[in-house]
Assembly symmetry: D2
Homo-oligomer: 284 residues x 4
């Protein structure tokens, strides 16, 4: 057998009879060998979602892409055909808290997160050393009440210049301006340190402590113009006890934040997350 | 050694130096043998909580209770000395959903829940047969918009006549009037089918589905005048998927509701739950 | 649109290029509308597994089944085409412990488990009353050391006469003879009260207590001739503490047993469990 | 009030009536103010365990220690009185896998693990750079089949010279010699990458994959002369799926290993773990 390359196809379109047969036909004609396939039909919205992984012979992808483009036009599909081995460019934004950043870097370093990290941007200098340990360029873009607008214009320019496919807010304690959210729609991932929709906004661990909940959580979501209200990618919780103070919630919460962000980001990078309205379909 | 009986002592009082030594002295003087001890100090509120279990020789408890009463007066304690084998009288209120009721009855029948069930009260007749299977008296107290006030007066009378120590709302879909909440403060346990404080009020599974959360939960709490805002005793969650419809959330949620209610109730029956302000201390 | 009926197709066969396209073609030709699709390729064993759900127009299934049979022959497939609404006949075997039985009956009664229960068989009379509460015939087949062989011959006859599609050992504390395991291969489901492969055999909670583990578990598996060694369908665990005695392990374990058995059985009934060698593929 | 210092007292002794009263008397006499108290009675072994935290006035601890020593002699106690703020010296042993080491260093750096790390020892040079990032001395002690005996003699000397209170095997892939285990009894902590007692020994993820379990786990335990059989401190599991290959088990398992080791070690460092026979009491 000749050399083959793995591709990933994601599709989102209005549901109708026969989609699978038509897609499968194209792939079979291209000598594609399917190794993973996940589908979902939202019966209420009458919408169809799929993510397939298949190998193709050398150079078969451009013709497949062309024929698929015709089908996609006919079926009103949003779609993407991507080399499975591709590594998106992820810019990480941080402030002062190191735990999510060190976790992402360790996972990236071990090969667990298939991405390039062209730069780490921060409104503080505190985490510069960690970036250095992993050999990642660090850029300081201070944000103050007065410079806020200019700072975010700079930030947005840098994201463009760095050709960021995805932006991760790894406890970046700033609210992004609407136009940045808009430009990078479904590409900015935030980790919020509560089990949303509980405890939106500032100091969620203090809110959780005051309410006396028995579990605390973290939520990984796409950032939209509405604070902490974008499509949820991943969530999890950890049990707390009556003798846990706010500092204990912060400590226990860090584990959940790390885990939820890493898992959400990995699914995003592997093309496993599709959005529809304010919800996600996660083919994990 | 003569026959000994197990007792349980719970205490809640302003914190000060030497409480443990003074309580331990009294118990040692009464020939008490401590087998379980749990304590908690709320350093912010400067409040002390404890739950001890110990055995006493025949008839030593009344003198201990008297001496303890004197100490409690001096230290401004709320306290209770209870035979560990005592079985509180629990009246269960239900509407149409059987899953929490059947679960409680099965657990009660197996000896897992140390309680008597003098009666099951309901605003519908649907679950009468299940009560019969377990030989528990069933009383029908219909509630309509017009009869609401009279119905709850009847209900309150019945709870008194049945000498209810604890009232469990096992998916009883009615809001209790404030005076009933007040009379049975810290003794009415509700199971709410969401991870509070998310999705307060009606149809929480529909709310959760609309928001696109990745976990759903249930909350067992004491009922207060404020809807779904009383002290939380127990919570847990279960993972849902993008292909789960509202009916699936309801189905998966039933498991969490059952488990959370059973665990919260058991801790309550064993005197493991103390309240302070709007929070609980759970010595489990 | 004319009346349509939902069908479920499961397939297991040697992997090769183009399977999906050929299956999808047949279904599209039959005017099938796919609503659920899950696939798995075992790249090591080079084996392909799928479970699709689709609706067909009135009376289209017999022709599809015939055409599919031809394809299946060509591709060496094991396959099944089943009405999605079909309800397998499940015979439940019990001994003295009620908790799994009451749980299954409550779930069946609420519609959560799509099955018929033609009978409950037991080597004791203890659970006859519970069967009666739910209106299920109860048959007593005593098993003693002397009558063992005859008893199991009777049991096997009864399973045939009752046309059992599936047999559930809901804490049936007897080891089935090899020929019964063989006749009902992949159709006898057991719940073992440990996290297999830990604590095979008798008294697993005592074994777990002696070893000092921090979590205990339960395992739902298909029964084979090898004790507690069949393909695992579902497992879960619960945390225990240093002050939990064996009786507490038994109590906490009951919750896991119930949950694991119910979930494993539901997946089995909905055709979500395929086996290959000593492993399962679970399309949940 | 004068300056006060927090101390921690742990006790393990044969159970008898009045222990708590006598200990509490001593602490009250020393003007001690108890802020945390946990106890456990093993009713089978008739053994008593406690861990109390209390503050003492300046310089009151030496007299308390003397008086407590007398009581301890009378009651046959094993005991320790430790400044709560003390930071044990922990030597970390690693081989080639970085994930547990980087996790421990990040947690140590954030103040979550109250310890000093005098050195990281390894039989390979691979992780030297990470140690450097955190400013920890790194020592290379190669181990080969021929040099094994001498290498472990060197290692043992280094542990003594470094005044190691605790030794952590953070995926150190060597079996320690019995005399080292003996000298550091209850002070060497290992993380084993399976849910013990399942999958003892080499390549547990491969064993788990072959058996087809639905959850994999990790176990943190004290090292004894018997491989993977010492007292278990902490365990946890993570769910796997039928499409997870061995590499996925390794990846998912890393998260559990990190979490279980960090939690077990933290409890050990805070004096929350007592051993009795082959079991642990964990006052968390």
């Amino acid at each position: 057998m000749t050399e083959r390359t793995e591709f990933r196809l994601t599709v989102s379109c209005p549901d109708q009879m026969g989609i699978v047969a038509r897609v499968a036909r194209l792939i079979a004609d291209a000598q594609g060998w399917i190794t993973e396939a996940a589908q979902h039909t939202d019966t209420e919205a009458r919408w169809f979602f799929m993510r397939w992984v298949f190998s193709l012979p050398e150079n078969a992808d451009s013709e497949l892409a062309q024929r698929f483009g015709e089908l996609a036009g006919a079926l009103d599909m949003q779609w993407a055909l991507t080399r499975a081995a591709s590594r998106p460019r992820v810019v990480i934004l941080v402030s002062k808290e190191p735990h999510c950043l060190t976790d992402l870097l360790a996972r990236w370093s071990s090969g667990e997160l298939p991405m390039e990290i062209p730069a780490i941007l921060s409104n503080h200098r505190l985490l510069e050393e960690i970036a250095g340990c992993y050999g990642i360029p660090f850029e300081h873009i201070p944000v103050t009440a007065e410079t806020r607008e200019a700072a975010f214009a700079t930030l947005q320019d840098r994201l463009r210049a760095l050709q960021a496919d995805t932006v991760v807010l790894a406890r970046y304690m700033q609210i992004l301006p609407p136009n940045l959210c808009h430009e990078f729609r479904d590409r900015v991932i935030n980790i919020h340190h509560s089990f949303l929709p509980s405890f939106v906004g500032a100091r969620p661990y203090h809110q959780a402590f005051a309410r006396g909940v028995k579990l605390i959580g973290a939520t990984c979501h796409y950032v939209t113009e509405d604070l902490d209200a974008g499509p949820i990618i991943e969530q999890d919780v950890v049990r707390i006890r009556h003798d846990d103070q706010v500092a204990d919630l912060v400590r226990k919460g860090r584990d959940v934040e790390r885990w939820v962000l890493a898992r959400g980001l990995r699914n995003h990078l592997e093309g496993r997350v599709l959005t529809h309205g304010n919800k996600t379909i996660v083919f994990d």
